[in-house]
Amino acid sequence: MRRARLVLAGCLAALVAAPAVRAQTTGTVPVTATVDNTALVVQPVSNLDFGTVTRGTPVTVNPRSASAAYIDIQGAKNAQIVVTWTLPTTLSTGSGGVTMPITFANNSACYNRNSNQANCTRYNPVNSQTRRVRNQNPPNNNIGFWIGGTVSPSATQKPGVYRGTITLTAVYTGN
């Protein structure tokens, strides 16, 4: 993951390096430590995965576990972002298919400015979070969000792959 962020930082640095490239005649890309301030990357690193579940037995994924969905947000240093989740109430095997309930507790989501999942601050995903990306140079100009939840298959749940969609809305406020 760190390698991914480093490469992403290279991409972001390239954005800022671009005006300098224009002034070059050799065509080489100058190395720059300038922080990119023109892009916003909201990266779903992993989806929420309950795996194979047992009929009649609810399964809970903790936001601090490896099965939680993880979204990493990178942007301008100290940029303020409002993050809101839109949550499903059921998973489905497809359009018009069989459904399975999914619920979220008041501590099913968490965030951490160091992308440190083990120490993330838990909160109710029903509530928006207004947070800032870290005031650091790439690749540390980021903030991580995670979400878990609980699925409750019935005792007679039909076989199949049950899927749903969580929407994460990241609003750049300009503040």
Partner: protein, 283 residues
Amino acid sequence: MRARSALRFGIRAAALAAAAAVLAPVIGDAVLVAPHAIFMNHRTRTGQMYLINTGTLPEEVSVDLEYGYPASDSEGGVYVRLVDHPDSSQPSASSWIRAYPRRTVVAPGERQLVRLLAEPPLGLPDGEYWSRVIVTSEQVRPALATDTSVRAGVNVQIRTILSLQYRKGPVTTSVAMTEFRPELTRDSLIAWVELERGGNAAYLGSVALDVRDPQGRALGNWTTPIAVYYHVRRRFAFALDSAATLSGPYAVRVRVSTDREDLAASDVLPAPPVVDSAVVQLH
């Protein structure tokens, strides 16, 4: 000027594309959206942004526009107020700016240019008009084979919301500070700052605060971006670099200016800085 701007954007796009090609093998799923703030004007009536799929699966992307602006809540926090159907008194550009394409599938490693074209109504008064650009992306996932087991999972769809400013004719901005109320504890500074915008365009700038103890030593200074579209009442809270140990008095200074690190200087409207100060005792 227009050619230079186009060249700059073209070079940036090339840099992005090259970087995205490098990114593809190592990053799972992501759509990079650039720039994060879009500025258009009545002369060219066009804007553009890039979507780059840095992941390994195709991404379905849609681009919508909706009127909105940042505002403050009762606790001094910020949220973005989105308005589905703004009335005619609102400076909304969302109904007359279109994105092309509005929907697309961006293949892994590919970049997609999205053009924004304005068709403002005839007789549009001079001023600044606002919208938010909503980029929604979700992976195109292959169907999974099923067996007799029950499996469950949730995909994550991403909505990224950016700002858009459309300027026509002379535009000006300013800000007036109607409240500055700092409170100091041993470890932190809390300051309420209320700002009222002037002119006919949003104020994009920053707020700088600093604290000095009775002996003139700096206990901390902080700078944070601010956007005032109409009126905001913000609560800033900062941890002091060094603890306040004397009873006081302490000098707290605030400076609101149009300094912005994250925006091109040509996009930030100039305005005179506003400065205030207060003397506080330790709480």
